[in-house]
Symmetry: D2
Subunit: 344 residues, 4 copies
């Protein structure tokens, strides 16, 4: 079988280099184009020295004609970029995965409120498939446009999912206390993300409201078919990679929660339910597409605690995008995603 | 006024060196004895090179006669040690602050269950004063024996206190999602706390039950005069110092929460209520005895989020002990505790 | 072709789990046994959760009969263990790679001085091949016993090699100022390697003498056919993985140093000479078997500065062992070693 | 005695906040003005939350009339700013300490080459006193304008000084392999200093030439009264504070080096010579004005190794500036600088 040709638009951030790393190791896919207006002409290995001697591509000016000839195009651009360029590709029949937020929220007015800009192609939002394979596997396979989920969203959704699908917890007061490494903030110059500012320190941020809130709500209410009350607090951890979601839900129905999780995810290639009493570490998924989950009922009380870890750049971004690509292109869902986490 | 003479029993851990640092800078107190069976005869500056040229003491064998002559003795020993030695000092009229857990829990049976050993002097537990000055200031002043609070406990209690005292939130489903730097685990050799194991990673631990749970419960039920339902989840942050408590409570009564916190703590020298919308960083209290608190009501919902940060070795241990000592010895409560946090 | 069967003796340390990770991804090899007296019966994925669902093996009691049936056995044991067990395997015709130091130093008396124990099989030391493929590729291919090089040694030797082979620098005053992440110290319980001790701090150690000194000297004098004067200072960096060697040599002969390095390593699959003016980062080789090297002549003076980075657990240990295994078993030297470094 | 009035010009960087911290704890000095064009009107505690409740000042627009009324003015501005403003203050008799590089290099042409701009007041360079008290104490006392040394420069100079003053080592091939925490790069927005870029990694930088090179050379040649050959390589450590200089020198004269160092620094309040065989850690000086030094002669060879650590923001910047201020204003040299390092 000829290798599929794929392209990355906007590959100068952490999501871009992670896509490059994963696609380089993919047996069935060839990265043929990577675009960046700012870095056009520069070898990608110049920006990301881990690619030296292994990835020969240079960044190129975006060229729609070239992109159209690809089997699939990844958008790793800032929010608001894909929605302007994707319609032309879709019209040409090209398949697209957007790693930004442009097509994630079905309620366009809500999206516009949280992202602070008008949406330029609401029609495509409707037809876009939300790319969480554990929920939408079949739809992803045939989708032309996939909205790749947010990082916090993936960790929180996979953690809450079995409970909400079965209606076993109150939907009024869910809590998602989430912690992320600094790579989640991207590679743009800023004082706030200097190591001098965030090293050896810990803080919450965005407590009044964070853009991943409406996306988590959309997923959870879809799973439970109910309105959701959720408090979501993101925090910044002085490390590079990893998300840890600590999720709290009040029991309304009794069940063997451990068994519930194991059964819900038994056929999922990238969700690992840990044995009772476990505490997953973010390093156990560093560089891998796994989500590891543990469920606790402390002191036999009425609150369940779910611990869910992912690598924010892999299952939280580029890895999930590759998983979606595999589904869309009819490849083995695990292809290119089988390397083990780097531990220690 | 002659300087007061104080002693430290068991000063080879992180709490010990932090006490040394703070007492060295204290204007009214002189550290005259520091004991360690294992390190007797060795200069303390040999173990803790930051003290070189500034602290001339050597560790000595514990000698009760010497300790009795001190105005106050700090116990910085492992749990279960102070309860065996303190009764003799108390009988001799010496005042004592125990930085371990021996005298923190009023319900001795409960203590024995969580700490896995019989208590050797239950009578003293009853007379011991719990050393959280923001709650027990007057009692501390005249106490002979003070139980210095746990680190997580201090952060969580100060964060919840105003709400519970005023009965403004449900006491059934409080959540304390707490994060600590690694120095909280002490200075004992262990695989689990190697930097190779905990560096660049994040995890929860002790979800089924952590010893600080009954202590937080005791404080909160005392403040609210009600039975408390609390889920407490501690996490380990890849940094050395600092605790961040993220606290969740469901509103049952409306109030100006910001004002409530400001008024509750307006005369407290070491609690700083941040302006609305703030996110305290642990580094803002590194090395200082401050607790910084911010209160949020995200999305105007029915869940309050309180953020509370302390330095686990200062307000969470040695600094609070010095604050208690100041109260007990009739000194300025702020004495020796006025240096600013080290930022960055 | 049937997959080769290999075994790991003593796989509970960082070198062991890294070997597991690399062998799991190797197309031509099957790990059939992993032994640990202490952990016998326990699933390896219990100790190293990154292996969950991917590596089903349990640790087993060492069993020489089983080991003999393998095509190759890795020893990832502490210094002094392999020399006691390997002779029996060698006698049986089994091929062995020792990742510890037992067979690295040809001068047995010197080894005994630095390692503080008598050597139990000096005869094997003589026949062992020092497994630095960039120097001994042909000998490794046919070796029955390979001594896998030390981590600092690999970084320093590859950095100095071209200059010493060509006799372009004084051999009297070489300096190797080396810096390592904490995983180099292994996974044994110790106070010194607690994150509370080594986090957010930097120090040199072993300045009076470190065991890698005689090994570096052996390599450099072999390359230059001269006696070497070398000052080697190792340092500890508050990070988990990576070694950075900063090497200083005084020019005695003029050459195009950049070209010299590029030519020396042009056919080496795992040595990457960076363009003039470069500064390699340890993260550019995190998790990969690459050594990246840059050569500088600051201010056109008479001192050359070579910067050399490796991942201490890969090219400095397990990766180099796999590279040696590939050579010994007639496989592609790159097999199982083609994944890209994890950046960021 | 009335407290002296001092001002800080440009206090929004790490040097500025560290000056604020130290001056706040100073018994004899009052900070009356802190200027910042960009942040004028904003409370300093807004930018640096560790100052909340303790420092009430707001940043103000620079106002020369106000500055002139101060006993001393600190310039914590970027290179090239002080040289434009200081002449007016000097003319008015105000005393000034510049923490930037404008007045450090006596050879103005050399300065212009390294700093890439013309010098606007060469005459003042001549009269400025280089503020390394261990060398220039008497001159500092009466200086009107003091050039505060660079951070790397302080660590390297204090480490080499005794050897060069006594002519015991070759001046042809000195090596200074220096490592710094990230706060040395300042608080400006940049991609290069994001935690996502520099966390969990180690690298050299500026090997072809770094601005501290001519300054170290100036100090060392002044001490030895000879031309110096020095190779200086700075490195970036993934931590916030601290510099570790590893210094190499070839012996030309025999001496009791340990005794030499102890005698040279016996009356120095801020230089601590460690016992033979020691390895100073950067954390042992975190937040303190100490420089800790150890001298080694590994393997009794002909190369000496000196290890020298400072806190780059204290003895490497703000602390040394306060030490100079104390000398200039006739205060106790230790005033305001007596707090112990924060360890762990």
């Amino acid at each position: 079988m000829a290798r599929k040709k794929v392209a990355i638009v906007g590959g100068t951030g952490y999501t871009g280099v992670e896509l490059l790393r994963l696609l380089k190791g993919h047996p069935d896919v060839e990265l043929s184009v990577i675009t960046s207006r700012a870095e056009a002409g520069r070898p990608v290995s110049d920006l990301f020295p881990n690619l030296r001697g292994r990835v020969d591509l240079c960044f190129s000016e975006p060229d729609v004609a070239l992109l159209k000839r690809c089997d699939l195009v990844f958008y790793a651009t800032p929010n608001g970029t894909a929605m302007k360029q994707v319609p032309e590709l879709i019209a040409a029949g090209t398949r697209v995965i957007d790693l930004a937020a442009d097509f994630r929220i079905k309620d366009v007015a809500l999206w516009e409120k949280w992202y602070g800009m008008p949406h330029s192609c609401p029609a495509l939002v409707k037809s876009a498939v939300y790319g969480l394979p554990e929920v939408n596997r079949q739809a992803v396979k045939t989708a032309q446009l996939v909205a790749n989920p947010g990082c916090y969203v993936t960790a929180a959704t996979l953690g809450f999912l079995p409970l909400l699908e079965q209606g076993l917890v109150s939907t009024e007061n869910l809590i998602a206390d989430c912690k992320s490494g600094v790579s989640g903030a991207g590679r743009g110059a800023s004082v706030d993300m200097l190591m001098g500012e965030v090293g050896e320190s810990f803080k919450a941020y965005g407590v009044p409201g964070h853009r991943h809130l409406p996306e988590i709500l959309q997923n959870l209410s879809s799973a439970s078919r109910q309105k959701i009350g959720l408090t979501f607090v993101p925090h910044l951890v002085p490390m590079v990679r990893g998300i840890h979601a600590t999720l709290y839900a009040r029991i309304t129905g009794v069940a063997d929660y451990q068994k519930l999780y194991e059964e819900r995810y038994q056929h999922e290639p990238f969700v690992d339910v840990l044995p009772p009493g476990s505490h997953p570490e973010t390093r156990s998924v560093r560089g891998s597409n796994e989500c590891r989950v543990a469920i606790h009922r402390p002191q036999d009380g009425d609150t369940l605690v779910v611990l869910s870890v992912i690598d924010n750049l892999v299952k939280g971004a580029a890895g999930q995008a590759v998983q979606n690509m595999n589904l869309m292109l009819g490849l083995d869902e695990r292809a290119g995603l089988d390397s083990l986490a780097l531990l220690p």
